[in-house]
Symmetry: C2
Subunit: 316 residues, 2 copies
């Protein structure tokens, strides 16, 4: 399928992630076009020289004609509607997405009969800005891009998605949907929840507390500056995994509260937290080089490698 590797891409949704993807794909030499629901957003993209329409059927018809890789780049609440239209106008195109949660997208893809050519994706990149104005082609440079290796994944669309991620400058972490969702609950959705709670607490202290706030508060609340609708669209679809992580965190914080109250000590929490941060700082990615897509058990082999910190740095 080498001839397909730089086949065109069609990006649905031209906000921060989708728009930056159009820019990065252009820089990497991909023919590409996009769709945006709001004509204002589409016009802003066109003003910068990108081929973006607010006519979804037109974008999808063109994708079907040229076997483009379709990239769903809208928040979770808008995914179902898009998949329905894709099923009607471009059901045989390879399909991926950049949505922050994978289980619910995979389920929706199955409901719409699109599973055979679907491979989930999630670039771990973003800023607290949103919309076309915030897009830039280097957003994915040196980032990690989760790519699905769920049971039944086909090699051809999988290679197209991996190739796109690599061409945008990312490394690829192979992961199945449920494990992705549990992991991002810990390292992406919980940070949002804690940042919001910290911002609430600081503001409750009024001008004196906010005036005394320095680096720890500034960094700890940074992502609370993200648009509320976007935070909700990121976190709420991952309800089950986030609830589990929130319960764990309430347990950890309650134990710290008890220890501080009864013994004046935060030793257990602080020691464990410092160890955790050290694990994060010293975590080493290693390149997966021994798995050949399509061979026996390739999906499971990639899944296990991803769990152990392995990444793909080139197309296997």
């Amino acid at each position: 399928m080498t001839r397909d590797l730089k086949a065109p891409i069609c990006v649905l949704g031209t906000g921060l992630i989708g728009g930056s993807l159009l820019r990065a794909a252009t820089a990497a030499g991909y023919e590409n076009w996009g769709y945006n629901r709001s004509e204002d957003g589409a016009r802003a993209a066109r003003a910068d020289g990108f081929d973006v329409t607010s006519d979804l059927v037109a974008a999808l018809t063109r994708a079907a004609e040229s076997d483009a890789l379709i990239v769903v780049a809208v928040p979770m609440p808008a995914v179902d509607h898009l998949l329905g239209t894709i099923a009607a106008y471009a059901p045989r195109c390879p399909l991926t997405d950049v949505v922050s949660v994978k289980g619910p997208v995979l389920a929706a893809v199955h409901r719409h009969g699109l599973a055979a050519r679907y491979v989930g994706g999630h670039p771990m990149a973003g800023t607290s800005e949103s919309g076309w104005a915030a897009t830039f082609p280097e957003l994915f440079r040196d980032a990690v891009w989760a790519v699905g290796v769920d049971e039944g994944t086909h090699v051809d669309p999988w290679r197209r998605v991996v190739r796109l991620a690599l061409d945008c400058g990312s490394v690829v972490v192979p992961v199945v949907a449920a494990e992705h969702d549990r992991a991002v609950a810990r390292i992406s959705h919980l940070p949002h929840v804690l940042a919001e709670a910290l911002a609430v607490s600081g503001a409750s202290g009024g001008p004196l507390a906010l005036g005394l706030a320095a680096g720890s508060f500034r960094d700890g609340t940074r992502v609370a500056g993200t648009a509320p609708d976007l935070v909700r669209a990121i976190c709420e679809p991952n309800r089950a995994a986030l609830l589990e992580v929130l319960e764990d965190t309430l347990t950890v914080l309650s134990a710290a509260r008890d220890s501080l109250r009864d013994n004046g000590s935060l030793a257990d929490l602080v020691t464990a937290g410092h160890d955790g941060r050290r694990d994060y700082e010293t975590a080493e990615r290693w390149a997966i080089t021994d798995v050949r897509p399509g061979e026996h058990d390739w999906l499971e082999a990639l899944r296990v490698a991803g769990q152990r910190g392995g990444v793909l740095t080139e197309l296997p």
Copy 2:
């Protein structure tokens, strides 16, 4: 007391804050010397040209002879011992501190009979590094420096402390001990506690979760990289205020958990958090210009101004 304004300073403890203060005071033209408990630390400072000894009595005797402003710059657990020695060798020197909590220091100062010339201080500056090697003179530049206006504060030492803070490049927030401690519980100690809890949760996800972690996790756990002993020495002495804030935060997070579980919604938390971060970003400091130290009710007038976001940008 204008002649005293650049009178010498004697800094007890030459870690990140105390050592950086020696550097900043030197840059501002103050005669200064320091004490450090470990001879290794003192030697490191001397190697950089600073007059630092590990002989506490010698440092204090010199302070008493020259009416130096003594700055206590050790973690809370070491404060009591230092104050006992100050009471023995330099009881009439003006006295301040840079400890992260003010109520316990004020109480200890009273126990040692040193209250008449004491003014509490707390520069809101730091990094996750510690020790002499981490010191630099610009640490306090554009920072906020809390200075005590507790009942019974005398004008002369108060002016010396304010002048030092201003000469180091900070603005001064006037605040009483109890209100300071409640405020920093919200904007300094809670950020530490939440960062530790987030780091614990991330590490629990293993190499996969840590490998997918991006900006929100990195920023949210940054201060969990601080040495555990230092975090405990900062947070634990503020037990009462931190317990209150932790209870509030457990309530906020439990409500968010309930809402997510029962309604699939994080709306209340996310809206309130976004509002709080906006309050922080748009908080405006204003200069206090209408209070003359020593006049009737000057301490209360400064306290009220500090509560409302007022700062001193020059010596009144």
